[in-house]
């Protein structure tokens, strides 16, 4: 059953899955990380409290997070069409993935930042650090290990969502599992895809945690 065509199709699926995973994760962080910083900085106990801005931002983030991904996928199709010129395939999946993952990442990094001791930030303020210096020299570097752990969680979640995009012909391993395994009853193919996804998740988890532990200087 594993002829050359199937193997090359699965390899293509792995490539597509990684393509979606890496692209969406990177762009989601480019959007989500500053949002998370904005959340923590403008918090009422933050270094630059802006209660109204904080409440609005928090509301928008919650709004986006409360839409189930599968529904979001259809909901943003016109927008996707507008941005990437197509509403299906690998490229088209990246758009809803980012819309879904960026607010999720904003919350993830916000919780990482909250782990920093308030006293350390106060110490930086007592040295005359500006808000920008506190963000770049205290908040981000001090939460690095936690941010890495968060990125592992985000990446595995995005991989899971990207597999869901198979429903709309999104490409990747999830797409193969649904088209061949589910619609055409080739269960063996479905299992292969699921096992491959499982292996990818395991690798991301293992490597990510190792990097996080190694980078954490609190553990002597």
């Amino acid at each position: 059953m594993l002829d050359a065509a199937t193997v090359s199709m699965i390899l293509g699926g792995i490539r597509d899955s990684f393509y979606m995973l890496i692209f969406s994760t990177v762009i989601s962080y480019v959007i989500g990380l500053p949002l998370g910083v904005a959340l923590i900085v403008t918090d009422k106990d933050g270094i630059h409290p802006l209660p109204l801005f904080n409440a609005i931002l928090g509301f928008v983030i919650n709004l986006l997070r409360s839409v189930p991904f599968l529904i979001l996928l259809f909901l943003v199709m016109p927008f996707t069409q507008f941005v990437v010129g197509t509403s299906f395939g690998v490229k088209a999946t990246i758009v809803p993935l980012i819309i879904s993952a960026a607010p999720y990442i904003a919350r993830l990094v916000e919780s990482s930042f909250k782990e920093i001791d308030r006293g350390v930030i106060e110490a930086a303020q007592s040295m005359g650090a500006s808000s920008w210096q506190i963000i770049t020299k205290v908040i981000l570097p001090e939460s690095k290990p936690s941010l890495i752990v968060g990125s592992v969680i985000a990446a595995t979640t995005i991989l899971g969502y990207s597999a869901m995009a198979g429903v709309v012909g999104g490409g990747g391993l999830g797409d193969i599992a649904i088209r061949y395994g589910y619609y055409r009853y080739q269960e063996d193919l479905m299992y292969i895809c699921v096992i491959l996804l499982l292996i990818i998740v395991q690798i991301i988890q293992e490597v990510g945690m190792r990097i996080a532990t190694k980078s954490d200087k609190r553990i002597s």
Binding site: A124, Q125, S126
Partner: protein, 343 residues
């Protein structure tokens, strides 16, 4: 002493709360002179941590002025304030070191903020590590250091930008007594060597005794008493001060609840004289020593003693002893209900 480096006038601080503003500090007036070691003591909740944060404007006062080195902090822009803070180092009870940076990098941190170039910063950081006796720990992370070592790094970090003032917020409260003494003597040494003004916030009288020259007692959001440590120690006036000065002896929990107990206070001149033994011989009466304590404050010896004088029916014994003590210029105070007022 020279002119004040920190001058606080009519300072008020309120915190907003559900039931209207909550008062944390009320009409605080203080002058801290350049080069001195000044203590601010009070029980927890008295407002001393708020007060020290008002000195560097980490907390903005609700009213009043804070003049640092001739400049009104309240009239400064944010940028000027950041600049002024670089002339005020601060250390904390919980050290507040950056956990992801080595000791050396922690000391470089305030210099990065001040925009000093890397080479110069590193050179200065190494000198400071030497000053606090931590040269061998330059590349250790805070998690690998003991409490005392962390505070040494924090002190070096606070000194990095050559501040004029070092603010210490309960800097020794998380340390054991031996380490506390070592850190205090380091602070004393730094103050005299670099001519830095040190402001010490604490709830422990022993810390004040050990290194401060002057002290302010803060009680219930106001300054109860200010003065030379030796004066405050020998004749505390305010009830809050008495509580603090006599607090150490309270721990011994001896029951002095008996009549004719007297507390004697010796000043620097008399504590090396065998007063009690002379008194016993002169007055031909035995006394019962219930508690005694001598300390060295800023180079002068101070003693306190609680004695019980057995009274003869006509009261002649007691009056003879009291007359003798008065002649020797020793401050005598009758102690009544002694559980609340020992030694």
């Amino acid at each position: 002493m020279s002119q004040p480096i920190i001058k606080i006038e009519h300072l008020y601080k309120d915190y907003p709360s559900k039931n209207g503003p909550m008062n944390a500090l009320s009409d605080i007036n203080l002058e801290i002179n350049s080069g001195e070691i000044f203590g601010i003591i009070g029980l927890s909740g008295a407002g001393k941590s708020t007060l020290v944060r008002c000195i560097n404007f980490l907390e903005k006062p609700t009213g009043g002025t804070v003049i640092f080195d001739g400049q009104d902090l309240g009239k400064m822009s944010n940028k000027e304030l950041c600049k002024a803070r670089q002339s005020m180092g601060m250390i904390f009870q919980q050290f507040n070191l950056l956990m992801q940076r080595t000791a050396l990098q922690n000391i470089c941190f305030p210099m990065e903020i001040a925009g000093i170039n890397k080479e110069q910063a590193k050179k200065r950081a190494l000198e400071l590590l030497e000053l606090v006796d931590m040269s061998d720990k330059a590349d250790s992370y805070p998690a690998q250091l003991s409490g005392g070592q962390k505070q040494r790094v924090a002190i070096a970090r606070a000194l990095a930008t050559n501040p004029k003032v070092l603010l210490c917020d309960e800097a020794t409260s998380a340390l054991d007594p031996k380490t506390t003494r070592a850190i205090l003597s380091l602070l004393k040494d730094i103050s005299s060597r670099l001519n830095i003004t040190v402001v010490i916030i604490t709830h422990e009288m022993s810390v004040i005794e050990e290194i401060c020259q002057r002290v302010a007692i803060i009680d219930n959001h106001v300054i109860a008493e200010t003065g030379k440590v030796s004066d405050i120690f020998s004749s505390p006036k305010h009830p809050a001060t008495k509580r603090l000065v006599y607090s150490d002896e309270q721990k011994s929990n001896i029951d002095f609840a008996q009549a004719s107990c007297y507390r004697l206070t010796f000043d620097g001149t008399s504590s090396f004289e065998p007063i009690i033994s002379n008194m016993v011989m002169e007055c031909k009466t035995p006394v019962n020593i219930l508690a005694a304590d001598t300390r060295n404050i800023d180079g002068e010896a101070f003693g306190r003693m609680v004695i019980q004088i057995p009274d003869s029916p006509n009261g002649i014994n007691r009056s003879r002893v009291l007359a003798y003590l008065a002649e020797k210029n020793i401050h005598v105070e009758e102690v009544d209900s002694c559980l609340t007022q020992p030694l």
